[in-house]
Symmetry: C2
Subunit: 136 residues, 2 copies
Amino acid sequence: MLSKKTKYGLKALSYLGVQKEKKPVQISEIAEQENISQKFLESILLSLRKTGFLGSKKGKGGGYYLLKKPEDILMTDVMRVLEGPISMVPCVSLNFYETCEDCPNEGECAVHKLMLKVRDANLAVYRNNTLADLLK
Amino acid sequence: MLSKKTKYGLKALSYLGVQKEKKPVQISEIAEQENISQKFLESILLSLRKTGFLGSKKGKGGGYYLLKKPEDILMTDVMRVLEGPISMVPCVSLNFYETCEDCPNEGECAVHKLMLKVRDANLAVYRNNTLADLLK
DNA sequence: TTGTTATCCTATCAAATTAGTAGGGTATTA
DNA sequence: TAATACCCTACTAATTTGATAGGATAACAA
């Protein structure tokens, strides 16, 4: 299942992506419009800011805004930050590879074989979609 | 992440799939060979039996065996039993569809759009792979 | 028939993860 | 200088996951 964190994060990015004006949008506005717990959303936006997707401004008139154009925000990067590794098992992960200590032979492992294909399929989707593609 | 249940279940199915002889294989043998907690594996095999993948025999010389040929065991079905719905959100699920009560417009929802593509990609993999494909 | 074997079944539990909350700190702006 | 809105840490509740315990039941064989 997709975590609420990822779901809310994607909704927030979309919300920011469709803004006409360039001024920051407040957490409270996004939370209200998208039916998200404000405090929970706050922590999600914070992590999106720390990972370089969002910029922020404090004080009155402050809020969050996209640092890049929606066309330049790849789902591969977004998903890795929000949901974690794209692979379902570490032994097929590109960025977080680990051997399974319980698996004597990776090459003959059925789980490994299947999950490799799943990883490739998911990766293809995420690489071929930017935030802009989700706003159409 | 892939659950241990699914991982162990796939390993057990593979183990049964490569058996030359047709006689039942005991839980203890599979657990030992595949490094799986025996009691946990027991519950997994039980659910695979209840869902029609495995047959079983009690008493001495008993154990589990595949009810179908590996070529006829689709990953779509296996994954649904072990891991649950293939879709990452209910609003794109074929078999377990539910509307998101927090989402006013499914057609314009970025999460929905992305997860539809992810579902299709995963489904394609699972539909095109049988247990036999994982044994090669 | 009786003992052994191995699955069947229910209940329970501990650990980990997830979702959400609380409360104050800090920078910015009017 | 007061109000605003992000920043940050810690905590808590609920859920899920992985694993155990202990006996009931069926099959086989001596």
